[in-house]
Point group: C2
Chain length 222, copies 2
Amino acid sequence: MRTLFHLPMDPLSRTVRIILREKKLDFNLVYERIWDERDDFFSLNPAGEIPLFIDQNGAIIASFYAIIEYLEETYPENTFSDKNPLMKAEIRRLIDWFNGKFSREVTQKLVFEKIYKRHVLREGPDSKNLREGQYNIHAHMDYICYLIDRRRWLAGEELTIADFTAAAHLSCLDFLGCVPWEKYEEAKDWYMRIKSRPSFRPLLSDQVPGHTAAEHYANLDF
Amino acid sequence: MRTLFHLPMDPLSRTVRIILREKKLDFNLVYERIWDERDDFFSLNPAGEIPLFIDQNGAIIASFYAIIEYLEETYPENTFSDKNPLMKAEIRRLIDWFNGKFSREVTQKLVFEKIYKRHVLREGPDSKNLREGQYNIHAHMDYICYLIDRRRWLAGEELTIADFTAAAHLSCLDFLGCVPWEKYEEAKDWYMRIKSRPSFRPLLSDQVPGHTAAEHYANLDF
């Protein structure tokens, strides 16, 4: 059986979960408390990081980029990378946008502060980071609207991994009630289209001890 | 003519420079002061980040992953990604190791503090970050030695982009005299093999205003 080591509020793990389900690949989820630094986990991935994927033949695939490219190559059913090199470059640019810039400016400042710091470090959140994350999200929501105004999906006319990556980040923030949807109609409409996919459903029942999901988090029509 | 927007002490830009030369592709280098946030640059890359590559047909390729995958696909001469999916996963795992974990734990703490903070923010370096970076580098040097003890190159028997990525990070640190080579013979031997390649030479004459490269930086036999 395939296995994915993950954390529920990790956007990279969420993206892989969506892709695995879109490709109709069965897998077990293992909740990996990476801060415990288990020896058994380090022997699978010396970086000690999630997501980590083990395929049914035992192949161990570590790191987000290795996993998504491996899945695209190994399981070509429902492949979300266009064949055209320029379109692939656009998809990868947007994946990097959300896992790089968006993550640094928004996700880490809000999700890290509100969840990881509280549960792992047993500290209160840094209010400067919370303010900055909540401020920074607006420019990114504007950018999503800008793209969706010109294209059906983020990278073009087709649904791609860029959409899953962006939605994975937003879903963690939405769980915490941090997304100002009311000001960004196009982004909300785009997110609803992804949220209503069967591949997305399991994410909507994820739980985090000590946190209640925002009221609208699991609603398909919010 | 192809163009690469870069900064001399950015490991991502350095990796792309090496690959372009290994593939024997001519290009112009543009020194992009990203902190000036030029409108013309934002119109090319809304993320405002380097490296940014413009191909001879005018195609604009933004973000490190998009660039390296695009170059591998578009210019198959001297391709440094193996064809085997597991070997490709190993290459990408190591690229992520150096651009993720190594960058956060070492490069950012030393290169950012010593160069960017001084020249752009006009601040002194944070001594806690410097200490941490100089401490953290040892575990990574150990890991390079561990790999090189078992394989000719980092990802296996062939030279790959994983080697260029790791060497690009180490070269920035070496410029600053921060690499404890004397304790890590296998790593030093591996680095010398990359450093002596013609594709690497231009990096050895890079200059940074206000900094003198460490004495051995440009020596092929150091």
